[in-house]
């Protein structure tokens, strides 16, 4: 019974060993390639955003210079935001604020944009589901569903959203925008989708180029990310933390 089977079994074992060896070689060859090709948190184009990441920003108000609006300009350029000559209603995804404490007179400057809250009031109040929070924490407006009611603008404690009043032309392919919809900072979602942790939102890029490097982008849920390490080392605050919104944008030096 076993005698006629033996050569066949031996051949099977040899084949298995050969395949195992082949697998090891292939694995050894492909593993570093994958690691090299994909920065942390970067996804393949067909891979959906995942709750493994929580994208956010850490902004150091101590490094943010008064009178500098490099981040605002960088954002405007990246998304094709152009003023319509109406400052009261022109879209602003980042507002640059100069703040002075009323008691001690301590002054500092900071950029204020969508805080990408975990419990976002804009998402709660949206009647059509156009305001939504992506699995990886980025709060966005689906402009296909937005009816322009502007409840989210009223609900946002950070005044982060803008409504588009005018017909627009020459929008950028990666930043579709149009009249009758609400919009706000997307955390440069097109860059994040392409590059993950290696992505630099336009504001962070412009801030670094202006020599301040006050804005750092990263994954709040990855303890090894620069943002999480910095937060662990020096701490960071949420603006209006009392509201319990768990913002994805944190500040230092407030």
């Amino acid at each position: 019974m076993s005698a006629p089977d033996a050569p066949g079994r031996r051949a099977g074992l040899a084949r298995r060993r050969f395949l195992q060896a082949l697998g090891l070689v292939a694995g050894a060859a492909s593993a570093p390639t994958v690691l090299l090709m994909r920065p942390a948190g970067a996804r393949a184009p067909d891979e959906p955003a995942s709750a493994r990441q929580r994208w956010g920003l850490l902004i150091d108000a101590g490094k943010c210079a008064e009178g500098c609006d490099a981040c605002v300009r960088g954002c405007n350029e990246e998304h094709g935001l152009r003023g319509q000559g109406r400052p009261a209603t022109d879209a602003q995804w980042i507002r640059k604020l100069d703040v002075r404490g009323p008691e001690k007179g301590r002054a500092f400057s900071l950029p204020m944009m969508c805080q990408h809250c975990a419990s976002a009031p804009c998402v709660d109040v949206c009647p059509t589901g156009a305001s939504f929070r992506r699995a990886d924490g980025i709060v966005l407006v689906d402009k296909h569903t937005c009816i322009g009611c502007r409840y989210c603008m009223l609900a946002c404690p950070y005044k982060a959203r803008s409504f588009i009043h005018e017909n627009l032309r020459d929008q950028l392919p990666h930043a579709p925008r149009g009249r009758g919809t609400v919009e706000s900072c997307t955390l440069c979602v097109h860059r994040v989708d392409a590059d993950g942790e290696a992505a630099q939102p336009a504001c962070a890029e412009a801030c670094a180029a202006a020599g301040h490097a006050a804005i750092v982008f990263g994954d709040l849920s990855d303890p090894r990310s620069p943002v999480a390490r910095e937060l662990a080392a020096r701490g960071g605050r949420q603006v209006r933390a009392d509201l319990g919104l768990d913002t994805g944008v944190r500040y230092q030096g407030l």
């Binding site: 184009p45 891979e47 955003a49 017909n167 929008q171």
Partner: protein, 168 residues
């Protein structure tokens, strides 16, 4: 008697020639009417073939785009196969003056058929209607249908000033 006979023959000939003229004129009018409703033949895109067979794209392109739209906006899936941006990049039409056709231009790939079918779309109220300047220009060698299109009179219902846009 002879004269009358000859006269009737002349009359017959006249009748026939008038009939012939009427028939000819009718045929000519038919041809003219036929030319007015020639089916659009949009400029071919870049590359060998579209992402789906042409007949499927004609019927289903809006569903492909809509499906991809939700996947991209809500889940961050950015495959290019059925992406709106992919359509625009591939199907941009360079006009004779060297400019890329805008969405309100009858030569624009989308406008071409959408004018013909009288289906008004608002995609381009928000989306870019051509690739950005630094991206590779689309197929410049599509003169066949472009020349044909230029020769065609525009459909009678939207001759004046392109498609009406909301609020304008």
């Amino acid at each position: 008697m002879i004269a009358t006979h000859r006269g009737s023959r002349l009359l017959d000939a006249l009748r026939f020639s008038v009939l012939g003229l009427v028939l000819l004129a009718g045929a000519w009018l038919d041809a003219a009417a036929g030319a007015r409703i020639t089916i659009p033949e949009p400029a071919p895109g870049r590359g060998e073939a579209c992402v789906e067979p042409t007949d499927l794209m004609r019927r289903e392109h809006m569903n492909f785009i809509e499906h991809q739209r939700d996947a991209t906006v809500h889940r961050g899936i950015r495959t290019s196969r059925h992406s709106f941006k992919g359509c625009i990049d591939c199907h941009a039409v360079r006009k004779d003056d060297g400019q890329l056709a805008r969405h309100d231009d009858p030569q624009h790939f989308c406008a071409d058929c959408h004018r013909y079918t009288a289906v008004r779309i608002d995609c381009f109220d928000c989306h870019a209607d051509r690739p950005t300047a630094n991206e590779p220009a689309a197929d410049a060698a599509a003169p066949r249908s472009l020349a044909r299109l230029a020769a065609l009179p525009p459909p009678p219902d939207c001759t004046a000033g392109g498609l009406p846009r909301p609020g304008s």
